[in-house]
Amino acid sequence: MTMALPTSPGNGRGRPLKRFQWLVEPYLYLSPAIILIALVILVPLVVGVSYAFQAIDLLNPFETGWVGFANFEKLWADRLFWKALTNTFWWTLGSLFFQFFLGLGLALLLNKPFAGRGLVQGLVFLPWAVPAFLSGLNWAWLFNPIIGPIPHWLAALGIMEKPQNILANPELALWGPIVANVWFGIPFFAITLLAALQSIPRDLYEAAAIDGASVWQSFIKITVPFLAPTIAITVMLRTIWIANFADLIYIMTGGGPANSTNIISSYIFTTAFRRLDFAYASTLAIALLVLLLAYAMLILQMRKHLVKGI
């Protein structure tokens, strides 16, 4: 009568062996990809994490082996780690805050039609294209009173008593890389938020205007809810990225003066490649990873609530 379909998945569900086959079969087909992904992602991760539980100090090559949680105890007692953690917080928050709000402002401006908009849009996105190394050097020079104008301007405005290099002042040095990072990162937010703004249907604003919304009200009640999912995801990505982004700090201050500008990722870098203590560097990296994972999960949870109607 009908054709037999021995391989069809639903058919053998009754018998245990067939059922097992039916469950396993798809994974069999997927296994090459799974094995490849595991090799590429998991193996390095596990190896890296395992360093944190060993002693691997290239300056001390004979004292290697498993040491349990000794590295984490050292971390807990490490004054420089806590300093770097605080710096990471301020570095990330400061950079992100100004990048985001200036980027949003720029996106709102660029969303309005005006003569020469295309050209301005192109120019605005330039900093993003400059290599971090170059912009770091550039900003370091700008802050240098011998060749750069910024200290002189600050002094002229009365903000600074006399032209000094803020990068040499342990109290203020972190602001140098933060300013450079803000300049560097505004275009990212401007691009993504502009794209999100342009996807908001225009007739919603017209309906809101007729419903009686002021400019501020339609911003708060239409624009912001529409941007919220984009904001959540870009802020999350940028937070992780900035927290890990040591280039500018490394170039502009090298973590100094007196370790006052080290963030965790620049501290990791110096620990691994200057002090050659890979085990401790890996311990620091795990601490950062855990913090960022917790943060990302929080944001993703929030985002779920934001995207209801859209």
Partner: protein, 348 residues
């Protein structure tokens, strides 16, 4: 009392002159329908009344206030968009009450007015839904409900039914007619659909290429079209136009007029007779459409366009047969060489 007065309104988009010298008066409580072919400027005119497009020149007056420079929110109007423009991130209840939310009205008043509007439109059960979980007809209702909650001086509609299927369109058309009876608010309604125009309107404004061709009650426009454009635009099937020198035409001298270039006669005003000397026009049947309620003949009388005849009921006359057509004098429309109706004949 007049609700809206338009005084020589012009609209230009850069070099494009979209609306030319529009002067109209809409009475309070009147249902005015703007009709015209695509691109003639209906939406633009409506958006100017709403305050969404600036007026290039002329005066826009509500009651006796000049509103040219007022923001939409200062005009006390509500508008139903073709796309509905529902706020996708708000549920139906918040969509309905959004105008009150913006005015920071008390929660109790909001609840009251939204549930009143929801009641009128049968949306009570949908208040918690988001727009994406509504059908087209339900969205349409929410868009109307949002306007009702506003309780505005003027309702504006821009092709509100064009995204609905035929059955739903008829249903919502009746709903809108009931709404107008119930609220008695001035309504300005843009549509392509002449059935909507004929059934809903107190007065119809026929527009073409940025100009007003004629304003009048639906029956007035149907019986006394001012020119060829209006005559051809309203009515379905369209009015037949026959050139005065058409060989098939055999009008008695009592019906002709020396300045008439074109004679117009509506398909439903034609009596089928034998193809003899008493017939005013003779031709052969090319196509027959039997709709049950009516039968429509497309008659070849030697011109490029067929002559269309509509007779009530089912008529068994077959394709290829030769028939004659007869008109009543009062049903005949005469147009001069400029396409303007020659009126004195009609009243005679």
């Amino acid at each position: 009392m007049t609700a809206i007065t338009l005084n020589s309104i012009n609209k230009r988009f850069g070099p494009v002159h979209v609306l030319k010298d529009i002067s109209l008066q809409f009475d309070k409580g009147e249902f005015v329908v703007l009709v015209g072919p695509s691109g003639c400027g209906k939406s633009t005119l409506l958006r100017m009344i709403a305050g969404l497009e600036p007026v290039s020149s002329g005066d826009m007056i509500f009651g006796d206030t000049r509103v040219n420079d007022l923001e939409p929110r200062e005009r006390d109007i509500a508008m139903v968009f073709q796309s509905y423009a529902l706020y996708p991130h708000m549920n139906v209840e918040r969509n309905l009450g959004f105008s009150l939310e913006l005015r920071k009205r008390a929660a109790a008043e909001k609840k009251d007015r939204t549930s009143h509007a929801a009641g009128i439109l049968g949306l009570d059960k949908l208040l918690d839904r988001f727009p994406k979980a509504l059908s087209g007809g339900q969205r349409q209702r929410v868009a109307m409900g949002r306007a009702i909650v506003r309780d505005p001086q003027i309702f504006l509609f821009d092709e509100p039914l064009s995204n609905l299927d035929a059955a739903l369109r008829i249903e919502m058309r009746i709903e809108i007619a009931k709404l107008h009876q119930r609220l008695g608010t001035t309504m300005v309604y843009v549509t392509h659909d002449q059935v909507e125009a004929m059934t809903l309107a107190d007065r119809i404004v026929v527009m073409n290429a940025g100009q007003v061709e004629q304003v009048g009650t639906p029956l007035d426009l149907y019986s006394n079209p001012a020119n060829l454009f209006v005559a051809g635009f309203l009515g379905s099937p369209k009015m037949n136009f026959v050139a005065h020198d058409d060989a098939a035409l055999n009008l008695p001298s009592s019906l002709t007029n020396p300045s008439a270039q074109t004679y117009g006669i509506r398909p439903e005003h034609i009596k089928v007779t034998a193809p003899d000397d008493t017939a005013h026009l003779v031709g052969t049947i090319d196509v027959v459409e039997r709709l049950g309620s009516d039968t429509i003949f497309y008659i070849n009388h030697g011109a490029t366009k067929p002559f269309v005849v509509r007779v009530p009921g089912i008529d068994r006359t077959a394709i290829g047969e030769k028939i004659g057509c007869q008109f009543q004098p009062e049903d005949l429309h005469l147009f001069d060489q400029n396409g303007q109706a020659i009126s004195e004949h009609k009243n005679g």
